[in-house]
Symmetry: C2
Subunit: 440 residues, 2 copies
Amino acid sequence: MDTLFSNVTVVTMDEELRVLFSAFVGVTDGKISYLSKEAPTEQPKQIINGEGMVLMPGLINCHTHLPMSPLRGYADDVDLATWLNDYIFPREDRLDGRCVKAATLLSIAECLRFGTTSVSDMYYFCDEVAQAVAESGIKANISRAITYFGDDFDFEKDSRCQELVALKEKWHGYDNSRIRIEAAIHGEYTSNHQVWEQVSDYAKAEGLRMHVHLSETKSEHEGAKERHGLTPAQVLDCHRVFDVPAIAAHCVWVEDEDMQLLAKRGVTAVHNPCSNLKLASGCARVQDMVKAGMNVALGTDSNASNNTLDLFEEIRAATYMAKGASLDPKALPAQAALLMATVCGARAQGRQDECGMIKLGLDADLILLDFTQPHLMPCHNVMSHLAYCVNGHDVVMTMVRGKILYSAGKYHTIDLNAVVKEFADYVMPKMFGREEEKLG
Amino acid sequence: MDTLFSNVTVVTMDEELRVLFSAFVGVTDGKISYLSKEAPTEQPKQIINGEGMVLMPGLINCHTHLPMSPLRGYADDVDLATWLNDYIFPREDRLDGRCVKAATLLSIAECLRFGTTSVSDMYYFCDEVAQAVAESGIKANISRAITYFGDDFDFEKDSRCQELVALKEKWHGYDNSRIRIEAAIHGEYTSNHQVWEQVSDYAKAEGLRMHVHLSETKSEHEGAKERHGLTPAQVLDCHRVFDVPAIAAHCVWVEDEDMQLLAKRGVTAVHNPCSNLKLASGCARVQDMVKAGMNVALGTDSNASNNTLDLFEEIRAATYMAKGASLDPKALPAQAALLMATVCGARAQGRQDECGMIKLGLDADLILLDFTQPHLMPCHNVMSHLAYCVNGHDVVMTMVRGKILYSAGKYHTIDLNAVVKEFADYVMPKMFGREEEKLG
């Protein structure tokens, strides 16, 4: 046994949502190898004293854009069109692979610090995203967002699609599938049926999953109906996008029939409550989607629109938003929101046999939280505290496949000082120019 | 000069909302005595290096019930009637002064840790609340909630009112007005016109301010209209409650005419977004109240309904709720929410000449935040980060009147171990009985 967590409160997130007090969790060769109220007889190489601590599965962030960290807080309190056209797009135009690598490492440091062990990322310069993921030890499903505004799309000739192909060849399955590559169509409104069909056919042929933005804003949703006489979900479905397992990010404006369709097609909705509130996109009908039989997971969206990657904040925001919108304090209870951030996230990533629970044989993707602080006293109900009192700052250790990537303020795979220096020397001057170098 | 913060980013919250970079703030005899981009010539007794840090005014929590910490997370995800009748009231019946003192100290530790330097509290066993406040060094406006369900109320004979009188005699003005006593009517629906008039007349005669719950739930608001043909704001106003400066907590269901009335009477609305969302009370129309000319401050409500006393979470929740409800991302920008938690809070407490800004001559009620962590990089706009990225965990020092009460994990006036022991030995057994002692 490599590591033993002793005398710890274990929130398993298993089928019975068991919580074990003063329990023991052992890790061997990156897997959970022991789980009991009794101490093991075997001597572990390392013991982590879990007194006063809670051990739970690492959180799974199913929709984000890690390379956007340089734009965090760059344009708040403006409308979406201004945000995109006057602030985000002009700066993104200046990005290069070197920026993306440093930016992704900074975001991964934030993820690890706040207890996230796996992410579903959609962006570009994905080779550099994958390099950062590979170095850092986090898990990721990485997708290259395809946009296309012409009318003669050819997958074989399109440079973005060829990036996807190269990415798949180089990174899909890396490190025993710690990295997986997915296909991605940015959205219905940023491409056409040629793209949808050809990218989806490629994904199906290669056994890749799909990541797409869906009905995030009212104008996007209504626009599709004007353009096609169909909702975004319906039109993408007609053109084979949901022939492979898919993540549909946001789903704020999906209609009842969309929910039925998406449930039947096994599509996961990824709810991003903080982004949806901050950008005023609307309120996703999470409970209705669950009732319709959809898998619903959680995401942070990028730290340019949120502005943090703390998934515990999304857990709380999801419960608050559901209760507030329905005027029902029983709506989306703590357990349901915690499931969205763990078990449902693993399912959304196709990793349900690998992580999302504390269970023998699964990967040791584990986080430890300090429950001895004043704001967590007393503790009548651990899961309630995880939803309503905890945030990412309470995480004191983050482990992926048995390897500690973050603990007590230290990043064990990321040289944060080097990242900060790279931001000062290269990323900020490149993206914001000399006149704004001071911002770095 | 007692203390100098050097090379620090200063968010003044002054009339021009100035932010000074690499600045110097000096503290002498509990007051802010120096504020400049230049280092002072005078040698301070103590220098706090502010590089990478942000210094801002301590936050002001204008509606809470500090002694409720033993009930934190005791009953979540239930409807309000069940929460009150089956969980909260039966446990509150077991409270005594000793419980209240320990519970208040625990809550104050949480406040200090999260950057709150002044609170407006409404509860009972207020002598013990005042003792805890006095010992801890935090500022507080303390009020004894009056409820009365009979029809022959007599202020002179009512034990609760006599508690208020004793409280006022003993504590009002304590430590150069660090503690102030206020009158409090729990709510329109928990008392009658005899109470409103007699308590208000006492407050007016003694120069006390008033604290009242107002239109928190729809049933409370509509109930008043059925009972009196008037809204809660109107009926309380008719019976002299707003003859003194008042805090009206919640104001979720106030109508346009109420806003006009409350603005005219100088009443502060205290917005408690997390509590209102979690208990599904509704969405206060903050922007309309501000437009009507009302002062609007922020509160956490108790940690039984929230479930933390982190006012930074309320700042973010206030902005999110306003944007989400209006579908306007420009609604309630960062600066407006930060003003609610500082300047508007000081005004609500009658402390506007004493705190709420960083300004020469005001009390040195200051908090220091560590801006060197990954989730705060880069920093394009400090005030945006304070609203959208920061939470109470980023606070590394809390000072009231020049005295450091919390720094780097240490409480300098509260013996947290003793409080924890008192919870285990007395509070939890007393409130939850033998069968539930383990919960402590």
